[in-house]
Amino acid sequence: MSQPKVQIDVRSPAEGIRILDIRGEITASAEEALSAVSGTAGSDVRAIILNLSEVPSIDSLGAGLLITLLARVRKQRQRLLAYGLNEHCRHAFELTHLDEMVGVYTDEAEALGSF
């Protein structure tokens, strides 16, 4: 299978909020990294924000991973937000309808301002 092409770092800019800084393509190879970081979000977390400003592309299996992440986040009664989407990623969100359930913002300040 393909080698991991993505790196994910987690930070917490405010209480109850986790930002995932994702670097690289989101493909099937991102499954392990996405599962690992989302699994660490405990009950004290109320929102997970995806920083996609360094994500050049998402393929269809990668979009599927984000749909899976969305289901997991909603089950824990958390919100899923995203910012920094380029045109390619915006297409992916729109075609898969992720944009209907994930709050999409221009930048980090705007995303944090939505709380």
Binding site: M1, S2, K5, E25, P56, S57, D59, S60, L61, A63, G64, I67, T68, L70, A71, R72, R74, K75, E87, H88, H91, A92, E94, L95, T96, H97, L98, E100, M101
Partner: protein, 244 residues
């Protein structure tokens, strides 16, 4: 290319289709049934009702020297010909590309033909992906891909599915909907393998329940249920001498 967005990433031609509001079905042969697809919107797992499943089917093309890109190229060119009996795929005459719309005529219960559709939302050199239309039994995304596994090409179908409405969810829970779905994709993969000269190879299958909760806000999808609509339309087709 018309109707698709082309971007380059890591040497692959990565394409998402241009978003469309409503589906327009390509010209169809006379025998095709298109009673519930023209003008419909796409759905997918985000807009589905039932539990979220990931179903993965794969076959190893053990005696083939084809590259993953060659496997996917053939799959795109001859997609309809690999479908098992019990289903018809009416797409364009060209190889599959992002932005294509296709009509599906599927065998349903009691001899009813279920007419529904898909949009090809994504295609690159080693994969392509469908999303389902309103009325399809699944709010689904299906990715067809190939990859190399220790020198052997592997063809894979991965479906991310929620039953579209409460009625279809019942059929999923009873196994009425999933068993034919499993058999269908196993058959399609065996037909693809046969094209590459691979016979008798088993299809591996994995089903993972990702989210057992129901999206009750999507229960109204029942209005577009293709089985109900085609069942109601069947007497009209009989009277016109067009069969089920």
């Amino acid at each position: 290319m018309v109707g698709s967005q082309t971007m380059q990433a890591v040497g692959h031609s990565v394409k998402w289709a241009d978003p469309v509001d409503r589906l327009t079905i390509p010209p169809l042969p006379k025998e095709a049934i298109n009673t519930n697809t023209e003008g419909r919107r796409t759905t997918g797992p985000v807009r589905g009702f039932g539990s979220l499943w990931r179903r993965t089917y794969a076959i190893r093309l053990v005696t083939s020297t084809a590259t993953p890109a060659e496997v996917v190229r053939v799959w795109k060119e001859r997609f309809a010909s690999f479908w098992p009996s019990g289903g018809r795929y009416y797409g364009t005459d060209k190889p599959i590309e992002a932005g294509d719309v296709a009509l599906l005529n599927l065998s349903g219960p009691a001899g009813v033909t279920i007419a529904t559709g898909i949009l090809v939302i994504y295609a690159d050199d080693e994969s392509f992906c469908f999303i389902s239309a309103q009325g399809h039994m699944f709010g689904g995304m299906i990715t067809f891909s190939a990859h190399d596994e220790n020198g052997t090409p592997v063809a894979q179908v991965q479906a991310l599915l929620r039953a579209s409405d409460p009625l279809f969810e019942i059929t999923v829970r009873l196994g009425i909907a999933t068993k034919p779905e499993d058999q269908f994709w196993q058959g399609a993969l065996k037909n693809l393998a046969a094209y590459f000269g691979v016979e008798g190879q088993p299809v591996s299958q994995q089903a993972v329940l990702l989210d057992s909760s129901l999206q009750w806000s999507k229960a109204k999808n029942l209005w577009y249920n293709a089985a109900i609509r085609n069942g109601l339309h069947m007497p009209v087709r009989w009277l016109r001498g067009q069969g089920a």
